[in-house]
Assembly symmetry: C2
Homo-oligomer: 356 residues x 2
């Protein structure tokens, strides 16, 4: 699987997964163009691409403004489409912002791909969130789609755009439905980006870790290098049109186990249980872990990294570059978003729950 | 099931199904408020509510502008949410227009419902289109959702909004997934509103009928009075939260049979077969007919009207009011939409197929 001299476009390439993918592709000899407007709240960080900053072209535009960079789309041999907002909490606070980012921008971007590069292979970063509360585990791709928040609805709309345009021959999309991804370059500044980000932030600032409920809910975090391997295989494979793959971690662990591994790596920080906030039930999906056998069968992909090992590497990265990822004066910022493109309207729920 | 003195809000109440529902509700003694901005291309016709024009309140606004009519939402005992664009063809020509109407406006409307009338029963007019090409027939509610056009994607996004907000207790939605509905007050002016509209238009103007392919594809048209009965039952039932029901017709007929019944009612007009336009395959779903047993079991609903009988009643209505539904000087207008709210962008497919 060679990416030498392959022209690759990465949307969301300043974000967590996108930047790791860009670095890996540059190392493999690809010609990388990044499209990323650094939308506040979505985790873009220019420092993320520091190791390859002279080797990539950066287009600081929203992927939805694709009409302003048709040449970059035309010359792409393939596209990794990772632009998006992943926060469930943000989406419940500002549903239209989430629709704009995950729906409208994706629609415009894909229309431009159909126009300027018809039939192009495009790998879309989907999410396990579309499944909602599992009927059964491990979660396979045939499970009904039943999202519990606006983020899940909009990510699934974008998922459907990709597959619909592939079934009709206008694109050649593969959708990866990722479980919780972790590793170097994930944002730590934004508290609503998931429990792993919160755990790492607390370890790095020496604070105690808190887990909701009894901590027995299962998750299967996947290390970013493993996730990137799934993207690279998807970019080059001869998979059937419109194929969807779940991408899970090496092992299912309870939230308490995950917290305890993090706490240990932080030098035996205390871990405590805390009751669920009242409205938490409406957005919580209980346990989740992935059946990744389809992508293993088709592409030979398997997660390799145990959480203990991945978390240690992650924390080592952040300790080396802490100032780029945390504001020491304000390590626990309040979960709020700046006004964004005039489309924020708060949906006035009684309580907006924090997420795990 | 009494609707006497019940306060009902109907979005899309100037359209085909909405206006028939409004008339039926006024007859039943309900207090009816209609929200309808008469979006060009969506089938609104003020004449549709002529029999009850002094008995309903009309708010000529987009349901997405719900912040301008909070009192109408507050006082509603229940909401029938029929606003939307149904044309698959329009959605492929103008995807953003479809997203605006079926996605953005619905999101805004539902946010206002949550804010001003939390927990309200809302019956949403969904569509069989979300299923795409059937894996099996008759189509039940467990079939995978796999839309073949933007209209299907966006109608399903709105479908997910309703169910997600119901699972979390913010609304009490029922989604009806309707097969092809026909009857008095459907628009005849817009050629991209489905094959039944086209067949009726041709009968009324004495033109020959054309069917694509071999005409053996099955459909199960449901007469509008039967569909309305499903809405009325859904408005009042104690169905489980977020219930979805397929609503189908009394009988599956081939397109050729349907055309021949129409042609006979028009005085033995000729019927001919015509090859599919080249790109037709990408949007065509083959045969479709409905398994309506779930709504029969839960609500006791069954379609009663045979197509021959419903089509005769429909044609009699149009013959009496033809000038309100057809421009005699221009009975076959070209399928195009006026510029709409500045969001139209044509997706440049090679060919935009006509639909059956």
């Amino acid at each position: 699987m060679s990416y030498r001299n392959v022209s690759v476009l990465i949307t969301g390439g300043l974000g967590f997964i996108g930047s790791n993918l860009a670095i890996r592709l540059v190392e493999a000899g690809a010609r990388v163009t990044i499209v990323d407007p650094s939308v506040p709240g979505c985790g873009a960080n220019l420092f993320n691409i520091d190791p390859v900053r002279h080797d990539v072209e950066l287009i600081a535009r929203d992927c939805g403004d694709a009409e302003t960079f048709p040449q970059a789309i035309r010359r792409a041999d393939l596209i990794f489409n990772l632009a998006g907002e992943i926060s469930h909490i943000h989406s419940m606070e500002f549903p239209e912002r989430d629709l704009l980012i995950n729906g409208v921008s994706q629609l415009r971007f894909l229309q431009a791909c159909v126009r300027y590069n018809p039939g192009v292979r495009i790998v879309y970063a989907g999410t396990r969130q579309v499944y909602g509360k599992p009927d059964y585990l491990p979660m396979d791709e045939r499970h009904p789609v039943r999202p519990v928040d606006f983020n899940g609805v909009h990510k699934y709309a974008a998922n459907m755009y990709h597959l619909m345009l592939s079934r009709s021959g206008h694109l050649d999309a593969i959708v990866l439905r990722l479980t919780n991804v972790y590793g170097p370059r994930m944002t730590l500044r934004i508290p609503c980006q998931g429990f792993l980000s919160t755990f790492f932030r607390r370890v790095l600032t020496g604070q105690p870790l808190e887990v909701f409920g009894d901590g027995q809910q299962l998750r299967d975090p996947v290390y970013v290098d493993d996730a990137i391997e799934a993207f690279l295989l998807s970019g080059k494979c001869a998979a059937p049109e419109g194929r969807t793959y779940n991408v899970g971690g090496a092992r299912a662990l309870s939230l308490l186990q995950i917290a305890e591994i993090c706490a240990q790596l932080g030098g035996s920080l205390p871990v405590s249980l805390r009751p669920f906030p009242p409205d938490r039930a409406s957005i919580d999906i209980g346990s989740y872990y992935t059946d990744s056998r389809l992508i293993e069968r088709d592409l030979g992909w398997k997660p390799k990294t145990e959480f203990q090992q991945g978390a240690a590497t992650t924390l080592a990265y952040y300790r080396e570059h802490l100032a780029e990822y945390l504001d020491p004066a304000n390590p626990e910022p309040f979960c709020s978003l700046p006004e964004h493109q005039g489309v924020q309207r708060k949906l006035m729920y009684a309580t907006v729950p924090e997420e795990n």
